[in-house]
């Protein structure tokens, strides 16, 4: 892996937390992701390592929902009063993001929070680069529409 394992751990954990909204479960899934990733040594040296790491995490999250019988859509909204709000982020933006479809939220997380390239996102989501561009622009436009302009007009 080209980037530090510490950074990647935080990013995968953030991704899993976004998916399952539970600290304990997110960390379990993150660790399982890394264990599975490093058990496939042959793949690591053949490129696309980052996309592969996220694909494992994504599949583990899907398995988690399948096994627990929970509905992924129940977690679309970011809860207002849980520990997430303790972080210094704009509540307005959080609320606005929570109104977007989960798929667009996931894309925003990968692109802006985890700083993945368009190419890597395309590999993880299994769509074309053009689709990633289009959906990201759509997500930003939707967000801008939801947010009051006066909150973001200064740079």
């Amino acid at each position: 892996m080209s980037l530090s394992i510490h950074d990647q751990y935080d990013k995968i954990y953030k991704y899993c937390y976004f998916k399952v909204k539970d600290k304990q479960t997110a960390e379990d899934l993150t660790q399982e992701t890394f264990l599975r990733y490093f058990s496939q040594k042959s793949y690591i040296n053949k490129g696309k390592p980052l996309a592969y790491l996220y694909t494992i995490a994504k599949n583990l999250c899907i398995d988690f929902y399948r096994k627990s019988g929970r509905d992924e859509r129940l977690n679309e909204e970011v809860p207002a009063n849980d520990e997430v709000t303790a972080f210094e982020t704009s509540y307005a933006v959080k609320q606005a993001v929570s109104t977007l479809p989960v798929e667009l939220q996931e894309m925003l997380l990968l692109r802006y929070a985890n700083e993945l390239s368009i190419n890597e996102i395309a590999q993880i989501m299994n769509i074309s680069r053009f689709s990633v561009y289009r959906r990201l622009n759509k997500a930003l436009d939707l967000l801008k529409g939801v947010l009051r302009k006066e909150d973001f007009n200064e740079i």
Partner: protein, 243 residues
């Protein structure tokens, strides 16, 4: 608005701090990068212009030899161009120092000295390959002989190495690369002027002049390389004190 929104999106997805991260990473057995991986990774950081210029010079020599044949004038043209190859190399070395990358590199597994030495090593091998390639091509076409031709071609190159390293070791300015560029241009022009004005400069009776110049610039360059390494070690020491 878009800029601020993107900035906000960086933190919107923040999760509570993981509780078992350090414990897990310490116990995790994952393949760590070895020396060879590190060496190969450094090749990727060398800018394309180094490879392109080296290749262009080599192809240029081939074309020159094909069309004009080897003559004294061709020797000075090649020897005047060679310092530009060293300029590209020098600019690579100066880059991390000039753009304040020292501290960042210091925090990595391999320190700046190791990173710099490996890059110098790779660039040195590339330069040497180009140099020997040109030397082999030219020596077969002239009656100068391998060693004499080698000295004629490498002396301006060494003078430029010395001049550029002299600048790097004493300047902390962001314009270091431009100063090195000026040194290269000066060396190249000087070499051309001397070769044109003093017609018999490549004759055998001047071989002592060339030998002395070659040894002098080689020793001075070596001195500057040692100074450069010491400077890196000082940076490493300073960094360890402030870490």
């Amino acid at each position: 608005m878009k800029y601020k929104l993107k900035k906000e999106l960086k933190t919107v997805f923040d999760a509570p701090a993981p509780a078992r991260k350090e414990e897990f990473i310490n116990l995790l057995e994952y393949p760590k990068a070895n020396r060879l991986d590190f060496f190969i990774s450094q090749i990727g950081y060398i800018r394309k212009r180094v490879w392109i210029l080296s290749l262009l010079l080599f192809i240029g020599t081939l074309i020159g030899l094909y069309f004009s044949g080897a003559s004294y004038s061709f020797v000075w043209v090649v020897s005047s161009v060679l310092p530009f190859v060293s300029l590209v190399t020098i600019s690579e070395i100066a880059r991390s120092i000039t753009y304040n990358m020292d501290e960042l590199e210091m925090s990595c597994k391999y320190n700046l000295l190791e990173v710099s030495l490996i890059r110098i090593g790779i660039l040195g091998v590339v330069n040497l390959a180009v140099f020997i390639g040109i030397l082999l091509l030219l020596s077969g076409k002239t009656d100068l002989g391998f060693i004499r031709l080698g000295i004629y071609l490498s002396t301006p190159y060494l003078l430029n190495c010395y001049g550029s390293l002299f600048v790097i070791n004493r300047s902390k300015s962001r314009d270091t690369v431009y100063i090195c560029g000026s040194v290269t241009a000066l060396v190249s022009i000087l070499n051309s002027l001397i070769s044109i004005r003093i017609y018999d400069i490549y004759l055998e009776r001047n071989r002592m002049f060339w030998a002395i110049a070659f040894i002098m610039f080689a020793v001075l360059s070596l001195k500057e390389i040692v100074k450069f390494i010491k400077r890196m070690e000082d940076l490493k020491w300073n960094s360890s004190l402030t870490a």
